[in-house]
Symmetry: C2
Subunit: 334 residues, 2 copies
Amino acid sequence: MAKIVDVAREAGVAPSTVSRALNGDPTVTEEYRERIGLAAARLGYRPNRVARSLRKRSTDVIALIIPDVGNHFCTAVTRGVEDVARESGLSLILCNSDEDDGKESLYMEIAVAQQVAGALISPHRHDADGGALREAGIPIVAIDRRLDAEIDSIITDSRSGAREATEHLLRSGWTRPACCAGPPDVQTARWRADGYREAVRAAGIEPLLAHGTYDRGGGATAAAKLLDGTAPDALLVSNEQMALGVLAELDRRSLRPGTDVGLVTFDDTPWAPLIDPPMTVVEQPAYDLGARATRMLVERIRGEVSEVRHQVLPTRLVVRESSSRRLGPQRLDL
Amino acid sequence: MAKIVDVAREAGVAPSTVSRALNGDPTVTEEYRERIGLAAARLGYRPNRVARSLRKRSTDVIALIIPDVGNHFCTAVTRGVEDVARESGLSLILCNSDEDDGKESLYMEIAVAQQVAGALISPHRHDADGGALREAGIPIVAIDRRLDAEIDSIITDSRSGAREATEHLLRSGWTRPACCAGPPDVQTARWRADGYREAVRAAGIEPLLAHGTYDRGGGATAAAKLLDGTAPDALLVSNEQMALGVLAELDRRSLRPGTDVGLVTFDDTPWAPLIDPPMTVVEQPAYDLGARATRMLVERIRGEVSEVRHQVLPTRLVVRESSSRRLGPQRLDL
DNA sequence: TTGAAAGCGATACCAC
DNA sequence: GTGGTATCGCTTTCAA
């Protein structure tokens, strides 16, 4: 691998001039710029970014720490991040925390050690403080969830999304909607539970919720608990992975969404319209969330902003059949 | 941020000794090891990996280049990679090539520049040669698809998976199965098309295929083309994203899988059993593929192997309802 | 505008 | 077994 001194020798100039030329320093004369470009091409020179990072004390890599790569919402966010990152000349280290505080801090440590230029993090707990990242002075943007500390954030309006969904259930004729809420230590889960509570209370109905982890198992467990208890006739589910578990549990009990039980879940997915019956969802602008978060981070990395900023993006209710109350027939093809 | 000289001063030893102690060099005496450990803890010392990488000329980061983070198969592979990588003390840079040669080579360039210790790549074209990575002598394992060059690989047996699926369709009473094949420049798509051809030819039936990109649009287009042509009565679909498009297209034509048209697709997903009717799939051991590929890569990074290795993992047909031929009734709830 | 030289922080070689 | 120190490849003063 050719290094900068090789290019310098080949072009008959000093290494510092090569560095300046290749980094677009306007003080370099056109003639040198060209000669250096040619020499570099001839040698197949590729700057060693590690050396560069060591010297500049920062890389052009950002870290994205998300709870679950298997989650469509997260991958959609990731795509948004990726696109803007690439546009901005940054690469991405993707880290999967699995909603695990341990893994989350491990990844933050790694990000610091790798000298990332900035980090996007979807923290498991709001009272996390960006730990190692913060100490190292690395710019952070909290994404989808907030941090108590003074840190930029961008989230969706989960609470009003949940409220709207619950009101829709009520309007559709369901009388006892319950909530399969996410883990109580995760903000989005709490916000959604809050929105649900507001809506049912406003209708004079006692809230009925069960918490579960943000995965299929959590959804199945929460649904089972609710269904075994004071029989609800509709369910608001806190995320898409839980919804998968809820659907499995309903199937196990031969309960059909839309006829036997009303169903709305957070997060639209490609398969939501294809299942039987098509599922009503609260859509979140995931791609946009990722893209905007990355822009915020880039601005912060460049030092273009000083005040802490918080953005909130709206959700959208997509009505399909799982929430509209219809009396039988039962499927004949069971 | 404390650096190694600070720790050395604090512990009253030389920097080189600190380095040795912290890296578990057995020549360091217990007493020094302890004193240094304490000093490091006191200062909150965290080794700078960038400096370390520069000196060692390699990082403890590996790159994973996959075509589509939105694809469940890919994210399952990613999880396998991630788990083994973490066990081995490596971090992961995840790159999404979007089946785009340009992005693919850009990411390979970035990986080289970042001095990754190794790369896992699911190449768009088999005649790619690992480009920049190969030149830089960085270990590569091709995953899910092979490379013409002498490079380790691990794939699943797409061809026999497709053959088996087609035979199953035939045995189920469908008489004109067609194939929604993936892009012809992607190996897995060709292998699956080959398996399909073998099976129909063995049954004395003329193959009927349409190619499309590995996404929803590609699936819809291929299905439309086949359905508009010499009406097939069953479809073998080459991947899960295409299946989503095929399902949409069938729905558009009010064709119901299992009654009007037999359907099998590659890749099992959490939603496959939930759609209407539950979908028969060719399951690939995605997690295992990622995990094994990473182990292969780690062995190669450590220089534990010399000969080029190729692994093939079996697929498994999971029969659900979309492939079993049943005459009506049509859904009453349409 | 260009060149010389001093680091960035860790590792590894060579003395002791 | 431990300490001094050159080195990895690049950027960035400082002088010319």
